[in-house]
Amino acid sequence: MKYADMVHRCFRCGYCKFTSDYTDFNCPAYRKFRFETYSPGGRMWLIRGWLNGDIKNSERFQEILFSCATCANCVEHCVFTFSDDLVNIFIAAREELVADGLIPPPVRDYLKNIHVNGNPYKAPAAERGKWAEGTSMEAYAGQEYLFYVGCVGSYDERAVKIARAVGTLLVKAGLSIGILGEKETCDGNEVRALGEAGLFEQLAAQNIQAFRDLGVKKVITLDPHAFNAFKNDYPGLGGEFEVYHYTQVLAPLIQGGKVPLKECSLKVTYHDPCYLGRHNTEYQAPRSILKAIPGLELAEMERNGENAFCCGGGGGNFFTDILGGGEESPARLRVREALDTGAEIIAVACPQCAKMLEDAVKSEEMDDRLKVMDIAEIVNGCVI
């Protein structure tokens, strides 16, 4: 296994479970399951035990490995010099399990669906561009930016609304953007996180080729997950593009007066998506958009920025649901924390977070008090 020479270095001290000021346990998997085995240090020790032959691959071992949301809280807070590699180590262990074909059924199904259909929804590729019907979005044909929407934004009912909100807002702001529609394929971020390195490389190669063929230089993503793959993993595979999350282009457009905004008296809290925040240290762009809306009050949750608590959807869990369910599911804990701020809206910048938190709001029966909205949806409601 890659990183096998590192796993013994975990001291089991548990700093990785916390926020930086120790407000709470902040590893979503540990927070739900509460056995040490589901914490970052626990995973490190179990991986070592497994490599040494002291424990075997079992359903439980798989659950432990695949419940990691790759949220990178441990990367942020482990006090040792190998901290940067923690998520990579967990992914490397998953790769071994995937290679052996001994993985949880939902993981297997997800990977299979991507392999066969190019998306996890078993939906026809021809329907990938449907989300844009009736909008002013145009097919990519040499515009300045490619707007990449990803599987969730293309197919999921809730996420489609967000994709439309973002797309139309960017067009309205005068940006030259185009979409791939049915030519788009999965970015592979979750495929990589779930340990299918080969399939990831194949998807990346496909995307890189498609972007190159079309002469794409700059990409705006809807989804922080795609943003992460394009920005951090594609360059190593020959895909050098200028990559932005949509909030990073929207923020300066708003500052520059390209999106005139009216007074909107709203109390909003912002949930940092792990792949925008901790993985890519973008904490300010989304906040600056919200703060630019006159009358909008931004109330931070206790855990925010690099200490934000993951919604539990990362690392493929959005699809496999190993972390979901039950009163202690990360998303449900998160919406309770959001409600504590007194905000009426949780602003998100990721379609996966949107869906996770919206479901949690329903489970918690908070629909009458708390609404989940993408930043673009909030802005759209405040455009003059």
Binding site: H8, F11, Y22, T23, F33, F35, E36, L46
Partner: protein, 462 residues
């Protein structure tokens, strides 16, 4: 599912009981050097009633129970030596009450040091507790159970001296309240003026009961905090220096460390002095008083204050000091263990000499660290060695070095702190037989079936 698993699931819920090999593997170990032994079950209860039911079941079935906080004592105290049920306390983390004017907090038995610190910072910024340098996930209850020491130990003694009451589940499954809370709604005293029953539990490593609530004293938190380091190469003078420093009554905490790395630290003893104040004036007054207390040593060229570089300050002022944990990875091996006897301060030179000797003999990376307890009443001298978990030979050498520390410490008049089972045996062998008999009597009365963390403090013969 076995009957016991089913019964436990009926108590804590299926999700919070495990008899899987994964948990058995993990909870069989702690980060130290003791050999593993697997539990049969691990449970993660949420409320005291669940613990009562678990212990009642265990008592009925004669199954061992081992309470575990964060498992960071390092000396194998949470390893279930005879199998049974490990009770992971870390779902019981509520801070039940902070009495601002009475300066105490009541927390649950799994509440971590970090959580209380963070809570106080946010909600009671004028209060603090005596935080140890163990990783923040270490629990308050376990720390007093092993008579830990923290930032305020030089001023107020062991952390276990700073408690205001206990709620304990006994081996019978009954709940007992110890201290003023036994008869009053207020948790202000752990014993006085009643007979102090905390001694039935503290220091027993869970072998007489499981703490489910604990009252801890809080102390004034000053607005400013700073640190100075006095450097000396004269280990023999360190006890005198400490005497002068403690005479000022102005130091928050005194730690003395000596280690070979980084190279600039080698051959020197660093007396690290933390102090606090509400105003710059108060802080400066204390700084000057502390400086002057060591004038004669400076005049004699036996040491001097080093300017603490600004980059070093956050590391030293950090609470808990994360850098202490980092010591585990000095050899890129993720391991560190220390033997920390409680011993008289005048033994500092001998301890400092001993650690050098052992590090050389066994070719180990080391760090010697003393924390002063009270006004020079005693110290914890930590003989810390770092080891590589992937190097069995190095682990064995570390074990041997630590064993030599134990022998040395006992001969030097010290007492083992958070003693391993071997050290417990050594201590009991040396102990006054009447005292040992008393311990035996207490243990037999409190735990007639021998289910509470068995293997620990087992008096076999008197």
């Amino acid at each position: 599912m076995t009957d016991i698993t089913q019964a436990l699931a009926g108590i804590v819920g299926e999700a919070y009981v495990s008899n899987h090999p994964e948990e058995a593997y993990f909870y069989a170990r702690d980060p130290g050097l003791m050999p593993p032994h697997a539990p049969d079950y691990v449970v993660v209860p949420k409320v005291v009633e669940e613990i009562q039911e678990i212990v009642s079941l265990a008592n009925r079935e004669k199954i061992p129970v081992v309470p575990m906080g964060a498992g960071l004592a390092l000396t194998g105290l949470v390893i279930p030596l005879k199998g049974g049920i490990v009770i992971d306390m870390k779902r019981m983390t509520r801070i039940l009450k902070v009495n601002e004017t009475g300066r105490h907090a009541i927390v649950e038995g799994g509440t971590s040091q970090g959580l209380l610190k963070s809570y106080l910072e946010k909600h009671h910024p004028r209060l603090r507790h005596s935080i140890p340098d163990s990783p923040a996930t270490a629990t308050i209850a376990a720390n007093v159970m092993i008579h830990g020491q923290g930032r305020l130990t030089q001023q107020y003694g062991f952390n276990s001296d700073m408690i205001t009451g206990l709620e304990v589940v006994l081996a019978s499954g009954q709940v007992s309240r110890i201290g003023s809370c036994a008869l009053s709604p207020d948790w202000f005293s752990k014993g006085a003026p009643l007979p102090d029953l905390t001694g039935l539990f503290l220091g027993w490593f869970g072998a007489t009961g499981i703490i489910t609530k604990i009252g801890v004293k809080l102390y004034p938190k000053k607005k400013l905090r700073d640190v100075e380091i006095f450097l000396t190469d004269r280990a023999d003078l360190v006890p005198d220096m400490i005497y002068e420093l403690t005479h000022t009554e102005m130091v928050e905490d005194i730690n003395v460390f000596a280690q070979p790395k980084p190279m600039i630290f080698k051959d020197n003893h660093h007396i690290t002095l933390f102090f606090t104040g509400d105003t710059d004036e108060e802080l400066e007054f204390k700084r000057k008083t502390i400086w002057h207390s060591l004038d004669r040593f400076i005049r004699n060229k036996d040491g001097g204050f080093m300017g603490v570089p600004p980059v070093m300050k956050p590391t030293l002022l950090d609470m808990p000091q994360r850098s202490v944990s980092r010591f585990a990875d000095v050899t890129k091996g993720g391991g560190f263990e220390y033997s920390g006897p409680i011993i008289m301060v005048d033994k500092y030179p001998a301890c400092a000499q001993k650690i050098l000797e052992l590090a050389e003999k066994y070719d180990l990376g080391y760090s010697g660290m003393a924390r002063i307890i009270g006004r020079s009443h005693a110290m914890m001298y930590g003989f810390a060695f770092t080891f590589n978990r992937a190097d069995p030979d190095m682990m064995e050498r570390t074990r041997k070095a630590l064993h030599e520390v134990s022998v040395f410490a006992l001969e030097a008049g010290g007492i083992f702190w958070k003693a391993t089972v071997d050290e417990q045996r050594m201590a009991m062998e040396k102990m006054d037989p009447v005292t040992l008999g008393l311990m035996k009597m207490i243990k037999e009365q409190m735990d007639p079936n021998g289910i509470m963390n068995p293997g620990n403090w087992e008096v076999t013969e008197v």
